[in-house]
Amino acid sequence: MDEAKRSALNEFWINLKTAPGQIYRAMFRGGAPVSDRTRSSFVFGNVFLHLHSVRTHLWSLKWSTTMGLGLITTAAFLITLVTGILLMFYYKPYPDVAYQSIKDIHFIVPTGRFMRNIHRWAANVMVVAVILHMARAFYTASYRKPREFNWFIGWGLLVTTLALSFTGYLLPWDQLAYWAITIGANIAQSPREITDAMGITEYFDIGGLQREILLGSEIVGEESLIRFYLLHVMILPLILAMLMAVHFWRIRKDGGLAKPKNVDELVAADQKEHYPVFTEAPQKTYQLAAVVKGKTPAVGSGPENTVPSMPHLFYAELGVLMFTVLICFILAFVSDAPLKELANPLVPENPAKAPWYFLGLQEIVSFSAFMGGIGIPMLCWIGLGLIPFLDKETEGTGEWFGGPGGAKLVGWSALYGFATSIAVEAFAIRFGWLREWFPDIPQLVITFVNPGTVITVLYAAFSIWVLRRFNSTRAGALALFTCFLAGFIVLTVIGTHFRGPNWDFFWSPSHWPGH
């Protein structure tokens, strides 16, 4: 075209016509992910995707490596985030009004009931998935060096997830909510059981202080509701999101998922089905870390059985996300989130039950408030956090149950864990406990000798025996973790299904007396 004829108006017109394509190219500079190079830039050129590494090891893509549990947890969190924000349009955090607004969401707001159901079910899916994810990481020994810190972060994520569920429980302000939070707040106050027995509560009332800070008042009232609301919609989600970002980033920085030593042989067959490692000559040094000195996990490693994360990893991640959405949709469709009568501070629910994942705790709380609610959970929690520093063996990392023979050990530990907790519970249910036999027994004795602590001691004794028998810290850890998981399941089932009014034992909820 002649330069003179090309008027500014003409130029403007052409720019306008090509604007959409230009905007697209300005956003996605790398171009379509069709070659190894553009697939790489698709990942590292994107602020969200670059939490992943550009290439993913074939071992990490195997279903049996992770079962997608961490992804399910993440997907469930995203679902609760979206539905939670939508629910905030109508929810009003003030006693009585809160209850009415939940009723509005349920009966008046279009899709409100469905959104609330999804929110509730996704929260449950998240709790289940995060516990299973922790078990997966433990049983494949993925907490070992260099992944100790990421296990630590995951440990924080577990607690934050449970705290999110607990704070969400109060918001509907119904009977279920009110009494579960009353019990929870009094568990926070339960160090008084010890300080009272020692006669020092007057001077050192840590329990009372904890309860008052949690509730913002002496009673579960408007101050408590706004506190729980703030924690639920702002403080805890922010903490969770930050920890998640660190958690994902550290997977990459720790050299991907934990892999067994002979991983290259194990994935050799899969490699043939995938693209070759490089479909074109790389324009940059692919792995600079291979020639530099340092302590990062990738330094010194040779060629790997990796494939581009786009599409192999991302499509798998999308698949898991859609699977989680589907599960939550189905559950939300068939089952409504519960809403009981308006909270009544004069008449407790009978039985007053916490969310199901706290019912194991509630079962041991029914023996001693302090040991069941604070002592034993703190012990488990600290023990979980210390695992990577107490088991520093290197054998069997990345393999389920630590390699051959491990599954058998875990099986026997599970059997012991189930049998012990069921036996102790059955004894306590059938014959009662110390107070029934010796009415004048001091409270401190019951605090330290009750079915909860007896089960804990039996588990600890068993795992020390296993540790000595196999002369392996990993064997001891496997035994202890399995026992506690079994105990958690037994106590949760008893608390959920077998406890009725007055926390009495019933074979089935259909046998509960009317009241």
């Binding site: 629910e349 009978n350 039985p351």
Partner: protein, 159 residues
């Protein structure tokens, strides 16, 4: 401008500090001080000087026909009042275990949450409750009594 350390007058003079180091340390120091002070302020915030809670001192009209050994629960209150030959006394009905409201029965009280049992004088008979139900301060007479839920009295104090 870069700072060059000045000549030392004597060997006992301290090494002069470069200006940048001084400014850097001053910035770091004031930041830490500000952070610590504001953290203390923030930590004090969640505990109010006065917390909102309903009044716990009130008058109760005891029915004349209240049989001995039967609990009278004033409407809307978590208190049980007994009258016997020696006088009138009141117990808190908030369970000492985890704060549920106990229900009066023929033997005393039973907690619906975790099955704690209490006798009519508040003593624990069953379950996980760590201490007895507290006795509350009762004043007055001739059927009209004032209950103060915040003041506990020794077990056995009757008016």
């Amino acid at each position: 401008m870069t700072t060059t350390p000045g000549e030392k007058q004597s060997r006992f003079d301290p090494e002069p500090m470069p200006r940048r180091d001084f400014l850097g340390l001053a910035a770091l120091g004031t930041m830490i001080a500000a952070f610590v002070v504001s953290l203390f302020g923030m930590l004090k915030l969640p505990k109010a000087a006065v917390s909102a809670s309903p009044s716990k001192k009130y008058k109760v009209l005891l029915p004349d026909a209240l049989p001995e050994g039967e609990a009278f629960i004033p409407p809307g209150r978590n208190v049980a009042i007994y009258r016997d030959g020696e006088g009138v006394y009141a117990l808190s009905t908030v369970c000492t275990h985890l704060g549920c409201i106990v229900k009066a029965n023929a033997k005393g009280f039973e907690c619906p949450c975790h099955g704690s049992g209490f006798a009519k004088d508040g003593v624990v008979t069953k379950g996980p409750a760590p201490t007895a139900l507290p006795w509350l301060k009762v004043t007055g007479g001739a059927g009209v009594y004032t209950i103060d839920e915040d003041s506990h009295v020794k077990a056995g104090t009757k008016v």
